[in-house]
Symmetry: C2
Subunit: 141 residues, 2 copies
């Protein structure tokens, strides 16, 4: 009775594997820019969000706050972002440096190349994929 179940594929594992494959593709495309895919995504999000507390940023990107504490820390060490005083003495506001903006500009054509390749591969299914992933992200965890 459980025979089918125990051999059924795992949605999570499937998604994780695809994410690895896709990340390799994007990382290769982004390599000339010196940014990884997550780093590029963080910088671009920051560019749109403007100066931002870590907690707000984490909520926006769906990361754990302590994860950002380090990934953003690496971006700061590379000079792509800067920390300024926040509203409180508790909080810090992250903002993009000029170097960070330049890195985004440099990386954009690389990223477009990868994105175009996915667009060519998936066509209209890309929008369907996004819609399905939206439902997953909306899950109450």
């Amino acid at each position: 009775m459980h025979a089918l179940m125990t051999s059924a594929p795992c949605t999570c594992t499937k998604l994780r594997r695809s994410a690895r494959t896709l990340t390799a593709l994007y990382d290769e495309a982004l390599a000339p820019s010196g940014l990884t895919t997550p780093q590029f995504a963080l910088l671009r999000t920051l560019d749109r969000a403007g100066p931002c507390s870590l907690t707000a940023f984490a909520e926006r990107t769906g990361h754990d706050r302590t994860t950002l504490s380090r990934t953003i820390g690496a971006l700061e060490a590379q000079g792509h972002v800067r920390f300024e005083a926040g509203a409180d003495k508790r909080s810090r506001a992250v903002s993009l440096t000029e170097q960070g903006s330049a890195a985004i500009a440099r990386a954009l054509p690389c990223w477009s190349q990868a994105e175009d390749r996915i667009e060519a591969l998936l066509g209209p299914d890309r929008a369907r994929l996004f819609a399905i992933l939206d439902r997953i992200e909306a899950l109450p965890v």
Copy 2:
């Protein structure tokens, strides 16, 4: 001219974020079993594949071989898998221990619970998602 492009969402980032969300869901469901989602997936794959070299296993799961060298190493330390002599003096064969089989059996109902939840959330879109992810995984990287 580039205004639209620069604000377009990134397929890779989207997929990565969904993978994080889904992993949190599965990890929570699997917590009573003491296994993480990747560990559960590895054990189950090993159960199906039978004793297997690391390289063959890596090809099957789509991981880098050196990644498995460590994740499998952790499973060995926990007693879930065992290394035996391979065909060569070079290679080692990984195989499931009885404890590993027991861990799978213990984890299966937990996993089913998570999987059922996704099935309920996505319905027929789950199969569409799989089809799209298959195309991504088939990418020549």
